[in-house]
């Protein structure tokens, strides 16, 4: 529920956050080829955030990820892990400090769930009486009942459950960094959505440094605190927060990759409470006809809202509704239907507005009490603001250079 707050903080601390992993001019040319798969990549990965590498197939995003834990050995450049140059250290030791989750999961089928999760702690020489409670804790973190699943084998799990165990196994020894290669890519859309949400919830507590690879821009926008759009040979096309990426794609490549509907996607990242709301003229359900007419005369478009005694919206009225009637106010006009919560996204507000006869969305608080209204102009202004803010950010960088 605090997505916007979090990203706002991050946007301001963007240049302050500590760098957890740094790639300096890293290249990878496979033997027998002359064209590098990754070409002189410089990348800083900030601590405690989810950084998403996204790009079309074959852009080298997976290769880039696998260079970090040296599943693929770089042919050039240096890799720093928490300030330490790890380009030449023992790769097995390095990998034990980095969680690794892949799309195919790769649980060990001959081991129980417990033994799968205990793999890295055992490699690190943890005592069994420390490992056992840790296994239960991790299963609970990923939403699985330890008593039910501890002693099962992978073949008894569904795809979604297996990936939960995969995540638990990667978290087992509490590594500061997790590398995730399309972790939810092979899971059905409904389960994927749930796993993504749960993972974001877990991350909110654990604050791991996560590098997440996907080819799906929507997943990138949802999961990423920051997004790196990669072009051929892992060239960084744009590196920014999801909000700014959507508001201001720096070139055609990024714009094409984000695809149509970038603005609409951007509306998902903003909340109604961040808008400056407009006011509607309101009357209580028990108001006299004169009060209603007075309110109408104050209203620009002659519409007034009838609310109940707890200020909850009931009806929309205009002068024609008052002719030839003796019905009470709360039975006249149109019912107020397009109601959004302050915590809803702008996308929800727009959706609601499109269904509304008056082309406005009414905003209420937790108790359903009136807070204000959102008009289409408010939204378009907000979109323009986001775009110009993003553009200003890039102009500033240009000047800075």
């Amino acid at each position: 529920m605090t997505t916007t707050d979090v990203s706002a903080t991050q946007a301001t601390t963007m240049d302050v956050a500590k760098t957890m992993i740094r790639l300096e001019g890293v290249s990878k040319t496979y033997p027998g080829t002359t064209v590098p798969a990754v070409k002189e990549l410089d990348l800083e990965i900030p601590e405690g955030e989810i950084l998403v590498l996204v790009g079309p197939s074959g852009c080298g995003k997976s290769t880039t990820l696998r260079l970090i834990n040296r599943m693929i050995e770089p042919t050039g450049g240096r890799i720093f892990f928490d300030g330490e140059d790890v380009t030449d250290v023992d790769p097995d030791g390095l990998r034990r400090r980095i969680g690794y989750v892949i799309q195919q999961i790769g649980l060990f089928p001959h081991m129980t769930i417990s033994d799968n999760i205990a793999t890295v702690p055992r490699l690190l020489g943890w005592k069994e009486d420390r490992i056992r409670p840790r296994i239960d804790e991790l299963l609970e973190i990923v939403g699985m009942d330890p008593n039910l699943y501890r002693d099962r084998y992978p073949k008894e799990l569904s795809g979604g459950q297996a990936q939960r165990v995969g995540v638990a196994r990667a978290l087992a020894a509490d590594p500061p960094v997790m590398l995730m290669d399309e972790p939810f890519g092979a899971i059905d859309p409904i389960t994927r959505d749930r796993l993504q949400n749960e993972f974001l919830r877990v991350q909110e507590e654990l604050k791991k440094t996560i590098v997440f690879v996907t080819h799906d821009i929507d997943e990138a926008i949802k999961m990423g605190d920051r997004i790196v759009v990669l072009g051929e040979q892992s060239r960084i096309a744009q590196y920014d927060t999801p909000e700014r990426l959507l508001a201001f794609p720096v070139d055609d490549f990024v714009a094409d990759f984000i695809g149509s509907g970038a603005t609409l996607k951007g509306l998902n990242l903003e909340r109604v409470r961040d808008l400056t709301l407009s006011e509607a003229q309101r009357v209580r359900a028990g108001a006299s006809l004169d009060e209603v007419k007075a309110a109408m005369s104050r209203s620009d478009d002659r519409w007034v809202m009838v609310t109940d005694d707890k200020d909850r919206p009931l009806r929309w009225l205009n002068p024609t509704h008052l002719q030839r009637t003796d019905k009470p106010l709360d039975e006249l006009g149109h019912k107020v239907q397009s109601i959004v919560d302050k915590r809803d996204t702008l996308h929800d507000a727009l959706e609601s507005m499109l269904h509304s006869k008056a082309s406005v969305a009414t905003v209420v608080d937790r108790d359903g009490a009136y807070q204000g209204i959102v008009e289409i102009n408010t939204l378009t202004e907000r979109i323009r603001d986001m775009q110009s803010a993003a553009k200003a950010h890039y102009d500033e960088q240009e000047v800075g250079r």
């Binding site: 599943m71 034990r96 195919q104 790769g106 089928p109 081991m111 890295v120 490699l123 990667a170």
Partner: protein, 259 residues
């Protein structure tokens, strides 16, 4: 089942095929015995008498047969499994090793024993060496097949978690390939039980002694009984091994891999 044409390379993954083949052979031989029984009830009585008269000799020959089989298969396993791991990722080494093992398996067993005599003399040694070499192919091939069959994602994730090459082989790849490797060992054992029956021709003892005895005294009283005794106990030994392997398979294969 003494020496005939060189045995064909056994099927690689056919636990079921092996069982069915063994079953078919057992049924055929049982039918032969029943036929003999019906044809000559006196013969059955004398067959039973023949066995009852020499329990010690039968036991000793069966023991020799067991030692020869187990010894050769264990030796072959100790050679073939590490070799399989070593040649796994090298296409050239792999093809060479599998071809050589395949060619060695086609050398007729009697000839193989004879070739070894000038080198190691007579006795149990030439059949032991020959049987070891015969057992290499099924075990080597199944080791390679079994390791090949390990899911790449499993190896990738093991590597990504920081298991060293040796740890991956010991904790992940071998346990996962084990059911297939064990099938190879089982095929080798059954194969060797049948070939060991001719070890007697180079002085190697074992149950083939009864068969040879019957052949050399062909036409004299008791020769049929002698041949049948050797054959029957060879088959029984093979069946006992089958059961043992099934049991070992269940006990040594992770529950997570069993259906």
């Amino acid at each position: 089942m003494p020496d005939k044409a060189p045995p064909k390379p056994p099927p690689v993954d056919g636990e079921r095929t092996v069982l069915m083949a063994a079953g078919a052979v057992a049924v055929a031989i049982a039918a032969l015995i029943v036929w003999q029984v019906i044809a000559n009830i006196d013969g059955v009585i004398s067959f039973g008498q023949y066995i009852a008269d020499r329990p010690d000799e039968i036991l000793a020959r069966t023991w020799e047969h067991t030692v020869l089989t187990v010894g050769s298969v264990v030796t072959a396993t100790l050679i073939a499994v590490p070799m399989g791991i070593a040649i796994m990722n090298n296409t050239v080494a792999r093809n060479v090793a599998l071809s050589v093992a395949g060619i060695l398996l086609t050398v007729p067993s009697l000839a193989f024993f004879a070739i070894l005599i000038p080198i190691v003399g007579i006795g149990a040694l030439p059949p032991y060496i020959a049987l070891t070499i015969y057992a290499l192919l099924p075990i080597l091939r199944n080791t390679v097949t079994g390791l090949d069959g390990v899911d790449g994602a499993v190896i990738e994730s093991a590597k990504g978690m920081g298991l060293s090459r040796m740890q991956r082989i010991r904790k992940i790849e071998l346990p996962l390939a084990w059911p297939v490797i064990l099938t190879g060992i089982r095929v080798a054992a059954i194969l060797n039980i049948s070939i060991a029956a001719i070890a007697i021709l180079v002085g190697g003892g074992a149950l083939g002694a009864f068969i040879q005895n019957g052949l050399t005294r062909f036409g004299f009283p008791g020769h049929v009984e002698s041949v049948w005794t050797g054959t029957l106990f060879t088959i029984l030994l093979a069946l006992v091994f089958e059961r043992l392997f099934a049991l070992v398979g269940r006990l040594t294969t992770s529950e997570g891999l069993q259906s």
